[in-house]
């Protein structure tokens, strides 16, 4: 196995300019330690694919605060005025994507599918520049798969084989992102022995996880 990695080393794997899928929804289920360490190490020019940018000081908002983001694919930035400022100032290139389409595009990338045929966004500004497919008389919008160099995911528990589970709405985009990052780095609130998460309760099999962030000496989060 040997997948345990120090927080500093995990963040150091990620170069300036990398693309990152980051789990979480308004800071719930976001890999807070990894995000914080990327900020501390001063990473720049990142492409972030994530549902939202939470608020200043919270979750992915911390990467926005730090000016670390050059490109953003997301469904919503309305809760973060700093993101909006940086978009208007041209510092961040923004692609807005309906939330269900965003999830499905990431799933397509992780599952080896060529695209997503969705009714969502048809005939709206979201459809601009995209192909429309007619199938048996019904129109569908073709959205393309979204993968990234890295997926950063936050689990509730990880066992020694990196099997992950999630708690309540903190699951959100994490499992699907764990399938679509070329390298997958997970952090977990608890690390538990093999068997504590029974086979039927595993949501992300350890085979998908490349690195699991070590506990600190003080076992802090």
């Amino acid at each position: 196995m040997h997948k345990m990695i120090a927080l500093e080393a995990a963040a150091a794997l990620i170069p300036d300019g990398a693309s990152l899928l980051i789990g979480g929804f308004m800071g719930i289920g976001t890999p807070h330690r990894l995000v914080g360490e990327l900020v501390r190490q001063g990473r720049r020019n990142l492409t972030i694919i994530a549902n939202d940018t939470a608020r200043p000081g919270l979750g992915i908002g911390r990467l926005i605060d730090a000016g670390a983001v050059a490109r953003l694919v997301t469904s919503h930035i309305g809760t973060n005025p700093l993101t909006q400022q940086q978009v208007l100032a041209g510092a961040i290139a923004l692609e807005l994507c309906p939330q269900g389409t965003l999830a499905e595009r990431i799933r397509a990338a992780g599952s080896g599918l060529g695209g997503v045929l969705t009714p969502t966004g048809l005939g709206t500004t979201v459809a601009q520049g995209k192909r429309t497919l007619e199938i048996d008389g019904t129109a569908w919008l073709l959205d393309l798969p979204l993968s990234a160099d890295f997926a950063l995911v936050a689990a509730h528990r990880a066992d020694y084989r990196c099997n992950l589970d999630y708690a309540m709405t903190a699951r959100n985009f994490n499992p699907v992102m764990a399938m679509a990052g070329r390298t997958v780095i997970a952090e977990a609130a608890e690390i538990v022995p093999v068997g504590v998460i029974p086979p039927d309760a595993v949501i992300t099999p350890g085979a998908l996880v490349d690195h699991l962030v070590r506990r600190d000496a003080g076992h802090g989060s």
Binding site: M26, T120, T125, Y166, M168, T169, V176
Partner: protein, 218 residues
């Protein structure tokens, strides 16, 4: 009665027993406060839960459990959690009986604009486009006009949320049902005349001989 409460109490009567319902952020969320007793209604939040309930008391926050606006919530017994793909599979796949969404404009085709005001800020559509497209029944909850401007218009001037015709619009003045023939005025708010509604509406309204007053839940 405040406009928001009126709208919420009217919409509460639209939720059938056994329904799976998604309430948008803001005004639509109020609907759950006025449900008629004895109904078994499940609330979904698109960030991954069926079985939303308000946080039972201050201090009971679970750091892993919020609604789509990021506010801490509770969960009923028998709740179920799931990931974002599954959640939008429910929404897009027609498994959601009703969604209640806020609105900026609804037009004579029954089309909704509710996610963006060009030139002002770009909040993003979040789950609104999927909800407006996929739910079996879409109910719009909004004030009839804003800053003197009609919100029920001939053609939406703001970017559309979906091509799909919404099923019902409930405002502080009226209940309007978009149909293939246009917007049918179904009910008036208590004390509001048909003439006042028509005057506050840019769109043509189809007005029948009888336009009863709204009945309110709660």
């Amino acid at each position: 009665m405040e406009a928001k409460e009126l709208i919420a109490r009217r919409i509460a009567r639209e939720l059938p027993d056994g329904a799976l319902v998604n309430l948008g952020i803001g005004l639509p969320t109020l609907v759950s406060q006025y449900l008629p007793p004895g109904l078994d209604i499940s609330f979904q939040t698109e960030n991954g839960l069926i079985g939303v309930e308000p946080l039972p008391e201050e201090g009971a926050e679970d750091e892993y459990l919020s609604d789509a606006g990021g506010r801490f919530i509770g969960a009923v017994p028998g709740a179920a959690s799931f990931d974002s793909c599954f959640s939008f599979g429910l929404i897009r796949g027609g498994h959601l009986d009703v969604t209640v969404l806020g609105g900026l404009q609804v037009d004579e085709r029954g089309q909704l604009a509710n996610w963006m005001v060009p030139g002002r800020m770009i909040p993003g559509m979040g789950g609104a486009m999927d909800l407006a497209t996929g739910a079996r029944r879409v109910i719009v909850a909004m004030t009839h006009a804003a800053r003197g401007e009609a919100k029920i218009v001939r053609r939406c001037t703001l970017p559309l949320t979906s091509l799909r015709r919404v099923d019902l619009v409930v405002t502080d003045m009226a209940v309007i049902q978009p149909t293939a023939h246009g917007l049918e005025l179904r009910e008036r708010a208590p004390g509001v005349s048909v003439e006042a509604i028509v005057a506050a509406t840019e769109a043509r309204l189809i007005v029948g001989a009888q336009v009863p007053e709204m009945a309110l839940a709660g």
